[in-house]
Amino acid sequence: MIHNGRLFALILATIAVLFALQFALSDYLVLAATRILIMAVFAMGYNMLMGYAGLLSLGHAMFFGAGLYAAGLSSYYWGSSLPVSFLIGILASAAFSFVIGLLALRTTGVSFMIVTLMFAQAAYLATLYFSRITGGDQGLTLPTDARSFSLLGHQMDMTSDPVRFNLALAIFALVLVFMFFVTQGPLGRLFAAVRENEPRTRMLGFDTYRVRLAAFTISGTVSGLAGALYGLVFGYIGSAFAGFHYSIEALLFTLVGGPGTLLGPLLGTTVMTMLIDRLSGLTTAYLMIVGVILILVNRWFPKGILGTIRERALPWLK
């Protein structure tokens, strides 16, 4: 059963428009859109925890990295086919986020932010420490035979832009629909209840630790899925993807688009990626604008673009 019909219609329309984009955009923009779609999946995973369950993590790059490395390394060393590697990436990030969640969720507030930051930093340093396996800073480029796979008899070539775009779009669409059913259903209401008033939710008889653990694990798994997809689609894995900056990107994209809105992460990722792309052509210090935007959004638009629209005009935009 679909609870929020208007939102579901908007989601289907968004996916249709995204599909049509590839016939209108230049090759360069199709490639940029592929990257945006994958990063939007990462931001959607982040949004699950921050927007819906109200827990601000500063370490989601560790889950992105877990998926990226699990998928990339299994493909690199064991030569597993891309769908199998992708699955390994998802399973590994699910297990990893479950264990980290078990520990980190014993804390709340500021401690939770620092704990996630520290775990992520330890994970990032571990990718450098084991550089003999992971390639460290230099990273690893996946071999040619790991750049294609056959799907129902069709050969899917990961160096072809249209194939990459449509693959990313298909997975993005699946995750978006999955997110819709999680957030608009009973579990989503429980997440919102924990976000708005944790003691009251506990008093109503819910085990809030388990509710948060569910949000944390789903969030980490979706972020890891994005990482696995990124590594396999672009054929490169490196420790930069597990670094602090990627955690902040997920936060930034979610914050700009609108935390706690389904389409916010996509919008935030698109706006910020295009902006950073333009700026990096102008100056080497383009990250400064990331800092300025973090401060400005936090001060004047804490609800983000879609959150502000929801508040003013469209209350169903969740």
């Binding site: 520290m118 775990f119 936060l251 914050l255 210090a285 400064m288 001060r299």
Partner: protein, 295 residues
């Protein structure tokens, strides 16, 4: 193989690192203790201190000691003024909401770091030590400047201790830390106290940056490691506790020095970051504090 020289070297290096760390971490701890603000941009104040010290050394003619002294004065003043302005313009406006302040200080981190990149460029800058005198041990010579930094750090920490315990300003700070609402009712200008504390915290990081820069080159990305280690120290020592922070700085500085010499610096960092996470999870009051009592 004889272990003694390695142990002595690791111990000395650890002591030097511990003293610089103590300054940086106390700044972070002060800001957290009084304002309940986790300042992610703290490492950038350290970096700015180091770069200003380099600029003073490079543009002031005469012997290096002049530039060093100028840096020791200019860096904390400039950085303190910047932090004061940042508190007024950003943190105060969002009412010190915990999540908002973290996001905002991350923003500051990027602005300061990239601002330094634009101003000073991407190169690592070496600074001459104000004096060269090598202390001879039976196995190796050791820079006396490094021991000088230990002495300065101890003096500054003693100064901070006096400021907090014996002065009117310190009393206002402690009152604000103890109970913000009551302090406000008693007419303490809490807003000004907050700005001052944020500035003092940043100044301590800046001084640490000035002290460290003759041993280590100044670079716009140098703020990350001290930030991380300060977090480690502040959390292991108990958030907001000065004696705990000092004890933890010595412990972490020494063990980091030992682990780095005998194993690898990366492994040392992995161990200490995991330590922070585990302390926060299983013993959030810190390792050195008795439950319910905070110095």
């Amino acid at each position: 193989m004889d272990l003694a020289p390695y142990l002595l070297l690791a111990g000395l290096e650890g002591l030097v690192q511990a003293s610089v760390l103590m300054l940086t971490a106390l700044g972070l701890s002060l800001v957290f203790g009084v304002m309940r603000v986790v300042n992610v941009a703290h490492g950038e104040f350290y970096m700015l201190g180091a770069l200003i010290a380099w600029a003073c050394g490079a543009y002031i003619p005469g012997p290096p000691v002049l530039g060093f002294v100028a840096g020791l004065l200019v860096a904390p003043l400039a950085v303190g003024a910047l932090a004061w302005a940042a508190d007024r313009a950003v943190l105060q406006k969002i009412g010190y909401n915990p999540e908002g302040t973290i996001v905002s200080t991350i923003g500051m981190l990027y602005i300061l770091q990239q601002g330094a990149l634009l101003t000073f460029g991407p190169d690592a800058r070496a600074v001459d030590a104000p004096f060269y005198y090598t202390i001879r041990t039976p196995w190796f010579g050791y820079s006396s400047y490094k021991l000088f930094t230990v002495a300065v750090a101890i003096l500054l920490v003693a100064g901070l201790w006096l400021l907090m315990r014996k002065s009117k300003v310190g009393l206002l700070m402690r009152a604000t830390q103890f109970d913000r609402e009551t302090a406000l009712n008693f007419g303490i200008p809490v807003g000004k106290v907050y700005s001052a504390v944020f500035a003092i915290g940043a100044m301590m990081a800046a001084v640490a940056g000035v002290l460290v820069v003759p041993n280590q080159q100044a670079h716009y990305l140098m703020g990350t490691d001290p930030l991380l280690l300060s977090f480690v120290v502040v959390i292991v020592g108990g958030l907001g506790s000065i004696p705990g922070t000092i004890a933890a700085a010595v412990l972490i500085g020494l063990s980091d020095g030992l682990l780095s010499v005998f194993f690898s610096p990366t492994l040392a960092k992995i161990v200490s970051t995991l330590l922070v996470a585990l302390v926060l999870i299983f013993r959030p009051e810190g390792l050195f504090t008795v439950k319910g009592r905070r110095a």
